[in-house]
């Protein structure tokens, strides 16, 4: 915990819009076709290991690579590979994707078996085989996160159940429905990584989840539930680490350098499930919501399911969708088509209607200082906006644009509607190119 006298990190009070908080996750039927891109994580893309016309089963390895920063990708359905084609990710990267026509039988891969874990090495091997990545949104390969160079210095596990993005409720549902898995995952990670304490951070707007988790860990020593103020972005990694431990992850450093490993509730529960069943990461619990969706709810869908199939399962569109988001409204990426498939690190699909995406016109900065007061990291977004537009790389470096996590608080509060978060992103690119 930060000391009583240290400064609280800024943020913004966003409307929560947790419309689906009471919607228990429903497993959707297998779609006719899935598209499984070969990059669904931070790092290098996988190479497809299957050919067109191959028959695949659920959990079968579809793609892998020798690259250090990567995670293998598995088939989420059983069926036949009908194409291996170019795919453009919502972020603009190109990679290959495996298109599978499903047979609806969901035959599990015969090779699957629960892994035998007796040591930390076994655990890390198992986590890689699971294809597990950070399910909170970043998609950082979990086996790398669990294998820091300075493991001896790491003593704390921070479990992220903040879910600070508006609309999204799947992590909260997970904490209610899969409480035991989360606790099992915590036990395994703490045991094999020899961690001495664990903090589960949850925003105060989810009292049921706080109650469920508190009860579940009541008998456990060194595990506690931290109720955080519902102030976006409490779920950002550096923010929740600071809230939970008072430690600051410094520029260019990893959480492990601050003695912390931070994992999302969805990641840790999947880890526990994999150790029990041996079924890799092939499906995802997510929230489908937005003004254009007829029946918003939490669903469990196979990875690679098209947005339109998921929305059809949620009653289809009730009005013309103007904007489709993968992720929450603060950091989600807008995509141009509902043909995009579900990726490992997606935790929401939002279809906004006309009223939810009125275009805003940028005007001149009035120097009101709202962005400064909103930025969790005390950066100066307006100054970086100016420096970016003048192409002043030295100034951008001095202002530490590289520390921006693109949480969007600055753009959210800007009365001149300036796209400050986007300029920070572009400024970071400018800085990288100049190096």
């Amino acid at each position: 915990m930060p000391s009583l006298f240290s400064k609280a990190l800024n943020g913004v009070s966003v409307k929560h819009c947790k419309n689906t908080a009471n919607s228990a996750a429903v497993r959707m039927p297998v779609p006719d076709k899935v598209v499984i891109p070969m990059i669904q994580h931070m790092g290098a893309p996988c190479e497809p290991l299957v050919k067109v016309k191959d028959t695949v089963t659920v959990g079968q390895l579809l793609g892998d690579t020798d690259a250090f920063l990567s995670a293998p990708i598995h088939s989420s359905v059983s069926g036949t590979v009908t194409a291996i084609e170019e795919f453009i990710t919502p972020g603009g990267d190109k990679c290959k994707s495996v298109v599978i026509t499903t047979d609806k039988l969901q035959t599990p891969c015969p090779d699957l078996a629960p892994p035998v874990v007796n040591s930390r090495e076994d655990l890390i091997k198992a986590v890689r085989a699971c294809g597990l990545v950070g399910l909170g949104g970043a998609g950082f390969p979990t086996h790398i996160k669990l294998n820091p160079k300075n493991l001896a210095d790491v003593d704390t596990l921070v479990i992220n159940g903040a879910e600070c993005e508006p609309f999204i409720t799947c992590d909260m549902r997970l904490m209610l429905e899969r409480t035991a898995s989360i606790v099992d995952g915590i036990k395994v990670v703490m045991k094999y990584l020899e961690l001495t304490s664990c903090v589960i951070g949850i925003e105060s707007n989810k009292p049921e989840a706080i109650a469920a988790m508190t009860e579940a860990v009541s008998g456990m020593e060194n595990v506690r539930v931290l109720t955080m103020k519902a102030l976006y972005p409490r779920g950002a990694e550096k923010v929740i680490i600071y809230e939970a431990t008072g430690r600051v992850v410094e520029e260019g450093k990893l959480p492990a350098d601050a003695g912390v490993i931070a994992m999302n509730v969805a990641t840790i529960s999947k880890l526990a499930d994999y150790l029990k069943t041996g079924m890799p990461l092939v499906e995802k619990m997510l929230t489908v919501d937005g003004g254009a969706v007829a029946e918003p709810k939490n669903i469990i869908a196979p990875i690679g399911t098209a947005i339109k199939d998921m929305i059809a399962f949620c009653g289809g569109y009730k009005s013309e969708p103007k904007k489709l988001l993968m992720g929450g409204p603060m950091m989600g990426i807008s995509v141009y088509s509902d043909d995009f498939p579900l990726l490992k690190n997606n935790n929401a699909i939002l279809a906004f209607d006309e009223a939810q995406c009125r275009p805003v016109k940028e005007s001149a900065c009035i120097r009101c200082g709202r962005c400064l007061r909103a930025c969790p990291f005390d950066l100066a977004p307006a100054a970086m906006d100016k420096a970016y537009h003048m192409g002043n790389v030295d100034k951008l470096r001095e202002l530490k644009v590289n520390l921006c996590m693109e949480c969007g608080c600055c753009s959210y509060v800007c009365p001149a509607h300036r796209e400050l978060a986007m300029y920070n992103k572009l400024g970071k690119r400018l800085l990288r190119e100049a190096k």
Partner: protein, 315 residues
């Protein structure tokens, strides 16, 4: 359905606040003082305020759209605020053409020539007022006698600060403290009623348009320094333009520091310069000069008080 969707950068949620809503909050905060100016100085006060607002908006449109062919910014409502604040800083009897000239200096010279809203280095209304003061010193210091709210108990037309500054002139006695708070005294149109200005100022703080830092530090500095200089702090606070300046002029976004620590330095400087002028210089009032001088220092204060980023490492 069509597959063409709106593609936009995150975040896809906005607070709903915009420049014009902020400016209209400031206008709303000035309304109590507008009402009192009518009660104290009669309908001409309203006429002066209306002329300044219309002229400021007109000059904004004239320069921005007709002369430069740039975007029309009158709907951000900042020109309304400038016009109203300039009118508040003028004596009620000033010829209207002078007021219009002041608006031209404020909007065209001070604001638009430097790039428009947010770009000006000095507060437009203050520059407009100082321009008129140095150009037409006589008319700018000819104070009409105020009425009571219902046309009774009128007091001296001279401003209380002028009375305090020049006791040898044998000007009329000072209005009592109640009249000072209610605004029944000589002075600029909008500066006299402390109660109305405080209502507006507290409203702005409550609406989070401004923070309390600048006005509190500004006024506290005046109070402390007036004690040091052997002056009556109560009169120094309410008898001039300090309250109007502290809440509405020194808090101007474009021309005051953005960080809270910067605002402390800025307001401290404003208070010190104000009291130095009042105590030792030939002008009875120093609020507008002090704010103008601190406006010039604002970029440096901003650079000095920039916050250290969270987790930032000095390389």
């Amino acid at each position: 359905m069509s597959n063409l969707k709106v593609i936009a950068p995150a975040p896809h949620f906005r607070s709903g606040e915009n420049t014009s809503s902020i400016m209209l909050s400031v206008v709303a905060a000035l309304i109590p003082a507008v009402v009192i100016s009518f009660l104290v100085f009669g309908p001409r006060a309203l006429l002066l305020e209306a002329v300044c607002v219309v002229a400021s908006v007109f000059f904004e449109y004239l320069f921005r759209v007709l002369m430069c062919g740039r975007d029309n910014t009158i709907w951000d409502c900042s020109a309304i605020v400038t016009g109203l604040l300039l009118a508040f800083n003028l004596p009620v009897g000033i010829p209207l053409w002078m007021a219009v000239l002041g608006c031209a200096v404020a909007i065209i010279v001070t604001k638009q020539l430097f790039g428009g809203i947010g770009q000006n280095f000095a507060n437009p209304a203050i520059v407009g007022r100082i321009f008129l003061l140095v150009s037409f010193g006589g008319r700018m210091t000819t104070w009409a006698a105020p009425n009571g709210y219902f046309g009774v108990d009128a007091v001296s037309g001279a401003t209380p600060l002028a009375i305090l500054k020049n006791p040898e002139l044998g000007l009329k006695p000072l209005p009592d403290m109640l009249n000072m708070l209610l605004g029944i005294r000589g002075g600029s149109v909008g500066e006299t009623c402390i109660v109305a200005l405080l209502i507006g100022g507290v409203y702005l703080i409550w609406k989070k348009v401004i923070t309390a830092t600048t006005p509190v530090v500004f006024l506290a500095t005046i109070a402390v320094l007036s004690l040091c200089f052997g002056l009556n702090p109560a009169y120094e606070l309410v008898a001039g333009g300090a309250v109007l300046g502290a809440f509405f002029m020194a808090t101007d976004y474009a021309t005051s520091p953005v960080t809270e620590s910067g605002k402390v330095i800025f307001a401290l400087g404003c208070g010190i310069i104000t009291m130095l002028i009042r105590a030792f210089a030939s002008y009875p009032e120093g609020v507008s000069f002090s704010i103008l001088l601190m406006n010039i220092l604002t970029p440096h204060i901003d650079n000095l008080t920039r916050k250290k980023p969270f987790g930032g490492v000095v390389k």
